[in-house]
């Protein structure tokens, strides 16, 4: 039960029930769709990128509590940042949720509220849920006009067959 509370912290539950920046973004000049075949989740991320700064960002789609909250909190975290800052934040976030971070990064100030996702490390099959919006954002910023799949970006950690 302790681990479950770590995973589904109040902040995460709140963002999953009331996602911020939800909906198609008017005036977006970058977009990408992310797909997690494990749970059938699809999320589209919209960005208005100006002079390499993420002036505005939104997302829509369906997902589990972890991926919806992650998308919601990601949009809050990267809004107003430069592309390089957003990508660096993703790397830091990825190390946090896969447990590859050292003690110093666990409380890395740049992660801010995103540290509530540290509980994901105890649930390896859920890492893909938390990273889906980030991979999608990365694809949108790179101008990749195709669906990104967590199976390709995170590797086959969990089931995709077996009847």
């Amino acid at each position: 039960m302790g681990e479950l509370r770590e995973l589904y912290q109040e902040v995460i539950l709140d963002h999953s029930k009331r996602p911020r920046n939800f909906g198609e973004l008017a005036g977006a000049n970058r977009r990408a769709e992310g797909y997690n075949p494990l749970c059938g989740d699809r999320e589209t991320v919209f960005v208005r990128l100006e002079d390499d700064v993420l002036e505005d960002i939104g997302f829509r789609g369906t997902g589990c509590a972890i991926s919806t909250a992650s998308a919601s909190m990601m949009t809050d975290a990267v809004k107003g940042r430069t592309r390089a800052e957003a990508e660096a934040l993703f790397e830091c976030f990825h190390r946090l949720i896969t447990g590859q971070d050292g003690e110093k990064e666990r409380g890395a100030p740049e992660l801010g509220k995103l540290t509530v996702f540290s509980g994901v490390r105890e649930f390896p099959v859920r890492v893909k849920c938390a990273t889906l919006p980030w991979h999608t954002l990365k694809a949108a910023l790179a101008g990749v006009d195709r669906t990104v799949s967590t199976e390709l970006t995170e590797g086959p950690k969990a089931e995709s067959g077996g009847g």
Partner: protein
């Protein structure tokens, strides 16, 4: 080994078909805990747990009688060959095939269907021809036919389902044309639990001269299957879903069809003579068994057949029907829970969604309670699309499941509800 006699269900004073508490002791894994809780294993449509007799048959093989089959004059090879062929005979009797040579050992249901597609299919299907499947198939009974149709410029036609998850069999007649070369259908749907009227499907198809292949992966562990009574031409199933080891499965094919089909893979054991000019194929079933087979797996499968035979598959059917009924009533009473798949004839599988809660979150919370279910699309994405949902949560039953375990599931789902609402 436990003796199986009807036991009295104390809660309702009714007779249950199986003495489940005794049977549970046959499965060592059921004694373990998961996250500190007793394991409640309800992911049996994905794979079933193994009784001691199966584990022991495999171990005994490696400890005492292991050699390669059909090759050596030495004692171990003879013992291994005998054991493997005995397993084939057990499987033959279990599904009531006419001849043991109609039982081909493959890696599993998926390979069985691919074998039919790549041999029978490539030989008989040509440009403009048609293959008919249903809308509730597992990907393993969709993709092999798509590959074949792509190669041959043939067409895949789909028999629709209705909102309850029943196949609209009355439309099969209309779907069959002079170009139809094969009908391939599931016996029991892995995503919805629908039991398909396979005898009727075979009757309709055969009346038009069209052969029928059946994906029996979910049927063989829970229904007495008689391939001759069904009248099908091919029937594929997996050992690991019927209490046997992974890595082995069965393709039953009518002898006449198997004889006429080209080999599947080339290699050792599938030939009778090889020169660089000409190779002659071995007799059935070895023509389709290139290379060293999963010898220990086949023997373990034989032990699983023995186990199911001792218990009586019809008792497993009755047990799972009773339990599915109980589970359906228990879960349907939960607010916001919708059962997906409400066919009149249904067995072993309970798929559901909870309003506003993603199946993946349901699965994670239940796992922490020691309850194993599957969440996702169940390798049946077209079924999910039909119902307009990305995924379901699925509890699937086995002979060792109890009402207490269903109660634990219900309680776990109440906790899910409290957490996410």
């Amino acid at each position: 080994m436990s003796t199986v006699l009807p036991a009295r269900d104390r809660s309702e004073g009714r007779h249950l078909p199986l003495d489940v508490e005794a049977l549970r002791r046959d499965f060592p894994i059921l004694a373990r805990k998961v996250h500190g809780r007793p394991l409640v294993y309800l992911d049996n449509a994905a794979t079933t747990q193994k009784p001691e007799s199966v584990i022991e048959a495999v171990a005994h093989m490696y400890r005492h009688s292991y050699g390669n089959v059909h090759r050596g004059v030495h004692q171990l090879s003879v013992e291994a060959t005998d054991a493997c062929e005995q397993a084939r005979e057990k499987v033959r009797a279990f599904v009531n095939a006419a001849e043991a040579r109609e039982i081909v050992f493959v890696r599993g249901t998926t390979e069985g269907i691919n074998l039919v597609a790549q041999t029978f299919g490539r030989q008989r299907v040509h440009e403009g021809d048609e293959i008919v499947i249903t809308a509730l198939e597992h990907h393993s009974n969709i993709v092999p036919w798509q590959l074949l149709c792509d190669e041959k410029k043939a067409h895949l036609k789909v028999l629709p389902i209705d909102r309850t998850g029943e196949v609209r069999v009355e439309e099969l007649e209309r779907l069959l044309t002079p170009r139809t070369r094969l009908v391939s259908v599931a016996h029991v749907s892995n995503a919805l639990g629908t039991l398909l009227p396979v005898r009727r499907i075979v009757e309709i198809a055969h009346a038009r001269g069209v052969p029928v292949a059946i994906d029996g992966a979910q049927a063989v562990p829970r229904l007495a299957v008689d391939v001759r009574e069904i009248g099908c031409d091919f029937y594929a199933f997996s050992s690991h879903k019927m209490y046997g080891p992974t890595g082995v499965g069965v393709l039953y094919g009518r002898e006449e069809l198997l004889e006429a089909m080209p080999p599947y893979q080339g290699g050792g054991d599938m030939i009778s003579s090889v020169t660089f000019e000409k190779t002659t194929w071995n007799v059935l079933p070895y023509k389709f068994e290139a290379g060293t087979p999963d010898i220990a797996g086949a023997i373990g499968l034989g032990a699983a057949v023995d186990y199911l035979t001792r218990i009586g598959v019809e008792n497993v059917t009755a047990h799972e029907e009773e339990l599915l009924d109980y589970a359906t009533r228990s879960l349907s009473a939960l607010p916001g829970l919708t059962v997906i798949g409400t066919a009149r004839e249904k067995i072993g599988v309970l798929s559901f969604t909870m309003a506003g809660i993603h199946p993946h979150d349901i699965g994670t919370v239940l796992d922490q309670e020691g309850i194993a279910i599957r969440t996702g699309h169940h390798c049946a994405q077209p079924v999910m699309e039909f119902f307009g949902i990305p995924a379901t949560a699925r509890a699937s039953l086995a002979l060792y499941n109890t009402r207490e375990e269903i109660d634990a599931l219900t309680e776990g789902l109440r906790k899910v509800e409290r957490m996410f609402r």
